[in-house]
């Protein structure tokens, strides 16, 4: 009897007010925070690449290749947090073998596959095929073999063939933009369509996720570009960096306004869930929402980038500030995902209480596991940058540049 009460006491010490028994433990923890975060980085990086290719913002040329390879590296890892969250990870393939059309998650498998195989892989292949053939002639050993395999043992680099590559690459990118919107809008849809959860259930969710994804992806490419030029001891292209910052600023405004609109709508509507959400926002989410996401992740970058549109400090200072701003935005968007995923599970669907959440360091749902899935894409990216360095691409002849 005493033991029974002791156990109950320990469980209830995590709880404020009244929660249903299945709400005490959070089923979706830090790995599920990472899933929309990493997918968002992919979509954002791709949108930046498409700015150069489709929207002809040629000043962004130095980041085009980096953005594509970054999107690809993160895409390869995007599903890993989900799979390592599963109790039976080796059964994950079943979602693709017997998918049910009413399952949002099962269809995501195909959206993911489409984006990985038809968009990213094809665009990179058509973009690099000519270079891989040239590099295969210039190198020896394993690297030469890799280039041969990756270019599918093709040798045709005639102007006609390269022009065709460019044209197909262009078409793939055109298809890629709505696909990137679909990919990340879909992640928002998975949360937004859970009607039992008032913190998630809003039609704006896919749009908010999409714009925060674009913000985070652009910030990531900006950060990687600055660090990469530093490592390679090259002079940074400030004009390119300023242009990225300009787009980052515009999209951050849209993102901020959309999130604000969502909250204003919630406040004005003041549904029966309002009180519990109000207390959640000013209680358990206060620090992560107002400071990490709001102040450091949005307001501060917004003010700084906004100021830069009128007044530009010296290049050296600007570069450091851009580095800091991109890091802040990346942290801010991470906490946006945190506030959505974790916040949505902290309050009871009875609207009468709250539970609490604490993640450990080790274990399959711990911080270390999450850190692994954040580091792995950078390792893949380093390998890809070694194998397919965008800066070593040979200039094409004018007549092959095509579209």
């Amino acid at each position: 009897m005493e033991q029974h009460l002791q156990d109950l006491y320990e469980v209830l010490s995590k709880v404020d007010g009244y929660v249903y028994p299945n709400e005490i433990e959070l089923n979706w923890s830090i790995l599920i925070v990472l899933y929309p975060y990493i997918t968002g980085l992919v979509a954002g990086a791709f949108i930046l690449a498409s700015l150069e290719r489709i929207f002809k913002v040629h000043i962004l040329k130095p980041t085009y290749g980096i953005a594509l390879l970054t999107a690809f590296s993160f895409m390869l890892v995007a599903t890993m947090p989900l799979i390592s969250h599963l109790g039976k990870p080796f059964r994950a393939y079943e979602i693709m073998i017997t998918p049910h059309s009413s399952s949002a998650m099962a269809i995501f498998g195909f959206v993911y596959l489409w984006y990985l195989m038809v968009v990213l892989l094809l665009e990179i292949w058509f973009d690099y095929r000519r270079d891989m053939i040239i590099w295969a002639q210039e190198t020896t050993g394993v690297k030469r073999f890799l280039y041969r395999v990756l270019s599918l043992w093709t040798t045709d680099i005639s102007p006609k063939a390269v022009a065709l590559d460019n044209r197909i690459g262009y078409i793939v990118t055109v298809i890629g933009i709505p696909s990137a919107f679909l990919l990340h809008g879909y992640v928002g849809f998975i949360f937004g369509s859970i009607k039992a959860n008032p913190w998630w259930s809003t039609v704006l969710m896919p749009v908010i996720f999409l714009f925060s994804a674009i913000v985070s992806g652009i910030a990531l490419v900006m950060l990687i570009y600055i660090l990469l030029t530093k490592v390679r001891k090259l002079k940074i292209d400030m004009e390119c960096l300023d242009t990225i910052a300009k787009y980052l600023f515009y999209i951050l405004i849209i993102d901020f306004v959309l999130e604000g609109l969502d909250q204003i709508h919630r406040i004005y509507e003041a549904e029966e869930s309002f009180e519990v959400l109000h207390k959640l926002v000013f209680g358990k989410l206060f620090f992560t929402l107002f400071f990490m996401q709001g102040l450091f992740g949005t307001i501060l970058p917004l003010l700084t980038l906004g100021t830069f549109q009128f007044y530009k400090p010296k290049e050296k200072i600007r570069k450091i500030i851009y580095l800091a701003i991109s890091a802040l935005i990346l942290i801010g968007v991470f906490f946006m995902r945190w506030n959505v995923v974790i916040g949505g599970q902290l309050f009871s669907k009875s609207f009468y209480g709250y539970t609490s959440f604490k993640t450990g360091m080790i274990g399959s749902e711990g911080y270390l596991m999450a850190a692994v899935w954040l580091i792995v894409p950078f390792i893949i990216l380093s390998f890809l940058l070694w194998l397919l360095p965008p800066w070593k691409k040979k200039e094409e002849l004018p007549e092959t540049q095509g579209l």
């Binding site: 009897m1 029974h4 249903y20 017997t98 195989m117 095929r129 599918l152 093709t154 063939a161 065709l164």
Partner: protein, 169 residues
Amino acid sequence: MPQHLKRLIGVFAVFIILFLILHYLLTPSSFGELGHYRAKAIPENAFKELHYAGSEQCSKCHEDIRKDKAIGFHAKLKCEVCHGPGLKHALYAGQFKAGQLPDSLLLYKPAERKDCAICHQFNAARLKIQFDTINTSMIHQINAIEHNPFDKITKVEFKCIECHNPHQP
């Protein structure tokens, strides 16, 4: 068509064919026969070992208790909720004389305070009983530690069933 496009289409064709082969090999044989699930899952579960007999089986031998229970607060409570799974007992107990049942066929007799507290311990989340109704979906709640804990003279702990007939509380 240029050579490199042919090769690329070839690679995609191989990938799609590989996916279709895997799809064929990995889809369970009875999948989709009856619906979007494995039809064989039904017999697999149907042939699992049974443990519960059901109250109708109990009343065949314990008709007196069924009658007692039928008019009390516990009328809707099934026997095996308190006494545990009783299929073996129902099948084989009839072969033995009363009082000579082997241990393996004996059912649990919940007699301690903790047994009753499983349901009746105060819990703010449960519907509270209203004394002007006899709605049996609501449960009497008591504090199992404070509710008549022991005899004030002998200091011996009371058992719930000393005052309440568990079959007709």
